[in-house]
């Protein structure tokens, strides 16, 4: 964006283009530009630097409006149900989260509730070993809900701080698979109160507008307390989370920025917004 220009149609077009390119989507872009015009008018701002500053602040506000604290409050276990469509990075993220929480002095356990996909448990077992945490598994093809039940019971009896439940990738359009996910949550609620269970949806950073549909359907099924956006080490901006924050009020907890165990960062709205416009 060229600096030192007036708030005119060309500037607005350029801003619109960078918002759309970042996957913010046409509806959220229209709302943001509308709000930007209003704020710029109130601030009597016409030069592109000031307008751009207003724009970034507005997007930061949208992203920070739903944030909640992530670290446990002494209640244990916190159970994180890791959900998402196929291939988004759930299993890898579970490994990174286990490492992250351990580094923060927490005790962690992982449950292998993807009993379906080829080598899913083997993949997760490698991550459990890398992060040095216990993995609860069952036979291939076992009911994932029973694995969740066993893991939750074990987490309670061992006084574990965090139980991370890896689940199979599933398209939100598949009713039977969403039912399976609901059952995993329902069964876990027999062991631990619902307010100790957090559903975290893993979104692939390259995903476009379909992420909105994913959030809606997963929220309906098992709730959606936070997002983890992966693969932001690529060229995709992940701007869809702005639309999600605005329309569905779901905050981002972490971002994935690579395939190694420490490639996980707690979400920072400032750096995220800067990266949107790079």
């Amino acid at each position: 964006i060229v600096t030192g220009r007036k708030l005119d149609d060309d500037l607005i077009d350029e801003i619109e283009e960078s918002l759309l390119k970042a996957d913010i989507g046409v509806a959220a872009t229209d709302r943001i530009i509308e709000r930007l015009r209003q704020l710029a008018k109130e601030a009597k701002a016409t030069d592109s630097d000031t307008v751009f500053g207003i724009l970034k602040d507005e997007i930061k506000k949208i992203l920070e409006s739903n944030r909640k604290s992530l670290m446990g409050n002494g209640i244990r276990p916190h159970i994180w149900l890791i959900t998402g469509v196929n291939g988004t990075g759930k299993t890898t993220t579970v490994g990174k989260l286990a490492h992250y929480f351990k580094n923060n002095g927490k005790s962690v356990m992982i449950a292998a509730c993807d009993t379906f996909r080829a080598a899913a448990v083997e993949q997760l077992a490698i991550w459990a070993e890398r992060s040095g945490v216990v993995l609860v598994t069952a036979q291939s093809g076992a009911d994932p809900a029973s694995v969740a039940f066993d893991a939750a019971s074990s987490a309670v009896s061992k006084g574990i701080d965090y139980l991370l439940i890896d689940t199979a990738g599933r398209l939100h359009t598949k009713a039977n698979l969403m039912e399976e996910l609901k059952k995993i949550r329902r069964v876990t609620e027999k062991v631990v109160p619902s307010n100790q269970i957090f559903s975290k949806l893993i979104i692939d950073g390259t995903t476009g507008q379909n992420a909105l549909s994913q959030v809606k359907v997963f929220t309906d099924a098992v709730g959606c307390d936070g997002l983890i956006v992966t693969k932001l080490d690529g060229t995709a901006r992940g701007g869809i989370v702005v639309a999600i924050a605005q329309e569905l009020s779901v905050p981002v907890d972490f971002i994935g920025i690579g395939e190694s165990i420490d490639d996980l960062e707690a979400f920072n709205a400032d750096s995220f917004v800067e990266a949107l416009f790079e």
Binding site: N86, A118, E122, T206, D233, T235
Partner: protein, 291 residues
């Protein structure tokens, strides 16, 4: 539905109203919105609308009783044209061996697609060989071996070797063992990871594939042009496979990928089972993108 939005724009025409260029511009604004919501690349949409406008303000639409339908038809036909119009088959399995190499971003569905292509070949009475050239992802080789085992297809793997060497050795093995089709699974990688893109170039140089297929996720957003362009520039793709089309993503990435690479989209992966594979149909995709 796009046609419903057009009803709103054109409803005043019934009776005395005369269709104006403004009506058409308004209708095309709705088309632009629909394409952006479908994840078609922003620049591709801009060029598309410009082109559609010159056609839509022509006599045929201006004199039509159903201008909305005419515009939808123009847009639909143009999308089909952009998607390549006809179905394009994979390179025939007629060499000793024919070689397919699959590549793409992380998690796009490559390993599963390798299994699907192997099953498809088997059903044509061809002898496939799967090559496990992803040495990075935890349990990737195991994943491919389980898939191969489930359909009775051999999986070639080699310890202590880099992927180009694995593929090269696999081809020698395939030649010696009357393999009809060799399918190489590669690790997911970023188009901006130079080291891994060089690795793919080396694999291509060693095995001279008859198909070099980019596997792209149907829910990819604006980034589709970036990744497709880079993969194509560096490797010279022969085709594209769109995965996870059994979801409800509109799939505008298909337009973006085809527009920036000119490569035919040959395959549509429509599920997690190894039998969930179809040829790609441009006309069906065009309707899906328009919503």
């Amino acid at each position: 539905e796009l046609i419903d939005k057009f009803d709103e724009i054109f409803k005043n025409l019934r009776g005395a109203g005369k269709l104006t260029e403004k009506n058409i511009k308004d209708a095309l604004k709705e088309v632009r919105r629909a394409l952006l919501e479908a994840d078609v690349n922003y620049k591709v949409v801009r060029d598309f609308i410009k082109h559609a406008e010159t056609e839509a303000v022509g006599e045929r639409v201006l004199k039509s009783i159903e201008p909305g339908q005419q515009i939808v038809k123009i847009v639909h036909d143009e999308l089909v044209r952009l998607l390549g119009e006809k179905m394009v088959p994979l390179a025939p399995i007629d060499k000793a061996p024919t070689v397919y190499v699959l590549c793409g971003l992380q998690g796009s569905g490559k390993t599963t697609l390798c299994g699907k292509l192997a099953l498809q070949a088997k059903r044509k009475n061809k002898k496939p060989l799967l090559v496990a050239a992803d040495i990075y992802r935890p349990a990737a080789i195991k994943q491919l071996m389980i898939l191969g085992d489930s359909i009775g297809v051999e999986v070639f793997h080699l310890d202590n070797a880099k992927p180009p060497e694995i593929c090269s050795q696999a081809k020698k093995y395939a030649e010696k063992n009357f393999i009809d089709l060799m399918i190489c699974d590669t690790a997911g990688r970023l188009h901006i990871d130079d080291e891994l893109m060089v690795e793919l170039e080396e694999i291509k140089a060693r095995v001279a594939p008859d198909e070099l297929i980019l596997v792209a996720d149907a829910m990819t957003g604006q980034d589709a042009v970036n990744l497709a362009e880079k993969f194509h520039q560096r490797l010279g793709l022969t085709g594209v496979a769109l995965s996870k089309l059994d979801g409800d993503a509109r799939g505008g990435a298909a337009i973006s990928i085809r527009a920036v690479t000119g490569c035919p989209i040959k395959l549509a992966s429509i599920g997690e089972k190894l039998s969930d594979l179809e040829p790609f149909h441009p006309d069906r995709m065009a309707s899906r993108i328009l919503g």
